[in-house]
Amino acid sequence: MTDHLVEAHLKFHDMNAPDDGERKVKDMIARYLAAVERRLPDDAAKDIIAELREAIDSRVEAKEAELGRAAGDDEIAAVLKDFGHPVVVASRYSGNDHLIGPGYYPWFWHVQRIAVGLAIAIGFGIVTIRALGSEEPFRAAFRGIGSALEIALVTFGVVTALFIAAERGKLDMKWAAKWDPKSLPRDNVRQPRTLFESAFTLVFDIVFLLFWVKVVQFPNEIPVRDGASAALAFSPAWDVVYWPILVLAVGVTVVHLADILHPAWSRVRSVVSIAGHLAGLGILWVLYQSQPLIEVTPVDGADLDEIARVVRMVWGIVNVSLGVAALIWVVTIGVEVWRLLRTARAPANPSQVAA
C-alpha cells in the first residue's frame, strides 16, 4: 500500500528529474504525501492530496525564489515539518480531534463512577464469596482479585465505547438541560458517600448475608491450648431474631446499593436509616434479654476450666459488642434526626446550613 502510494506520487512529480538532488527532493515530498494519504478517508483522499501537493509546491517555489537556487534536502524537510506530521495533518482533515467532546465528557465520568463502582462491588463480592467457600481462601482471593479488576476494566471500556459512539452519532443531549435546581441533592446536609465507602460496605453486606443464610461459613473454633479447642455456636436465642435480622440485612444491602447510584442524602433515606437503626436497637434489646447468645463446647479434650474461661471471654466480648453497637446506632439515629430537623427549618440563605 505504502509503496504503491509513493510510486504514484513519484510519477506525478516526474521522476525524470535532471539530477540526483532534485530526485531526492521529489522523493521526500512523495513519501510525505503518501504518509498523509494513507490516513485519509478514501472518498476525499485524492482531492485533499492534490491540494496539499499544490500547497507544498507553492511553498517550495517561494523558498527557491528566496534562495535564488533549487531547494536542497534540508530546506524541503523544513517546509514539510512546517506543514506538520502526517498523522497530525491527516487527523485535522477528519474533523474528529477528540474521542469524547466537552458536551459528553462530564456525563462520561458521572456514568463511569456509577458503572465501575457497581462492577467493583459485584466483582469483589464474588471474589469474597468464592474465597470463603474455597479450601484455600487466600489463594482463591488473590486469583479472584485479577478477575474483579478485569470486570472493572471491561466495564470502563464498554462505557467509554458507548460514549464514543454517542459522540460520533451526535446523540441528543437535550435531556441534560432538563434539570431542576429545586431537586438538587442535599450535599450540604451530608457529604455524598464515596465510591470506595459504598463498594466496601456493599461487599461486607453481601458476605454477611451469605453467612447469615449459611451459604458460607467461617471457622468457629478457638484454640484453648495445644491440641484442644472450643467450638462456638449461636444459642437458640437467635432463632427469634433470625428473620428480622435477615430482613434488616437485605434492607441495608439495598440502601448501600442505592448509595452507589445516588450517593446523596435525602429525607427519605434519613427516615429509612432511623427506622432501620431503631429496628436494630429492638433486635439488640431482644438479644440482650435472651442471654446466653453463644454456646461453647469442648473439642479434642478441652477441660471444663478451659471452657469456662472461654465462655467468660466470649460472653464478655458479645456483651461489649452489643453495647458498642447500641451506642453507635443511638448516635446515628440522633444525627439523622438532627439532619431532618435542620432541613425542616427551610433557611433563608442556603449557606447557613452548609456542613
Binding site: 500547497a55 507553492s58 512546517d82 506543514f83 497530525v88 482533515y93
Partner: protein
C-alpha cells in the same frame, strides 16, 4: 504560584481560534488559492500554518461558507476559494459580533486594542 507558559499558550490558542476563522472569511471576500491566502493573512499580521489552514478551508466549504474551483494558474492546477453568499452573510454577522466584543473588551480592559497582529499561531 507563577502561571506556567503552557497555561498562557493554551489561553492564547483559545483566544485565537475563533478569530482565525473570521480572518480567513474576511480575506476570502476576493478569490484566492491556499498559498496566496496564507501569505495575505501573514502580511496582515495573522500567521497560520498550512497544516491548520487547509483543513479549515475544507471544513468551511463543507459548511457552505466557501466555494472552491480547481483552475490552472502559472502552469499548475490550483484550488481557488472565495466566500459564498451564505459565507458573506455569516461574515457580516460574525463581524458585528466581533466589533461588539471588541468594544466591550476595550471598555473592560481600559486601553486601546493592541497593534500587534495574531502572530506565530496555530489553530
Amino acid at each position: 504560584m507563577p502561571i506556567g507558559p503552557d497555561i498562557i499558550e493554551a489561553l492564547r490558542l483559545e483566544l485565537r481560534r475563533g478569530s482565525l476563522i473570521l480572518a480567513v472569511l474576511g480575506t476570502l471576500r476576493s478569490e484566492k488559492y491556499g498559498y496566496t491566502l496564507k501569505t495575505e493573512l501573514g502580511e496582515a499580521g495573522v500567521d497560520i500554518d498550512e497544516g491548520a489552514l487547509y483543513p479549515m478551508l475544507r471544513r468551511l466549504e463543507a459548511q457552505g461558507l466557501l466555494t472552491s474551483e480547481w483552475r490552472e494558474d502559472a502552469k499548475r492546477q490550483k484550488r481557488f476559494y472565495r466566500l459564498s453568499a451564505d459565507g458573506a452573510a455569516a461574515l457580516e454577522h460574525l463581524t458585528q459580533e466581533w466589533r461588539g466584543m471588541n468594544r466591550a473588551l476595550e471598555r473592560i480592559l481600559g486601553g486601546p486594542p493592541a497593534a500587534a497582529g495574531l502572530k506565530e499561531g496555530r489553530q
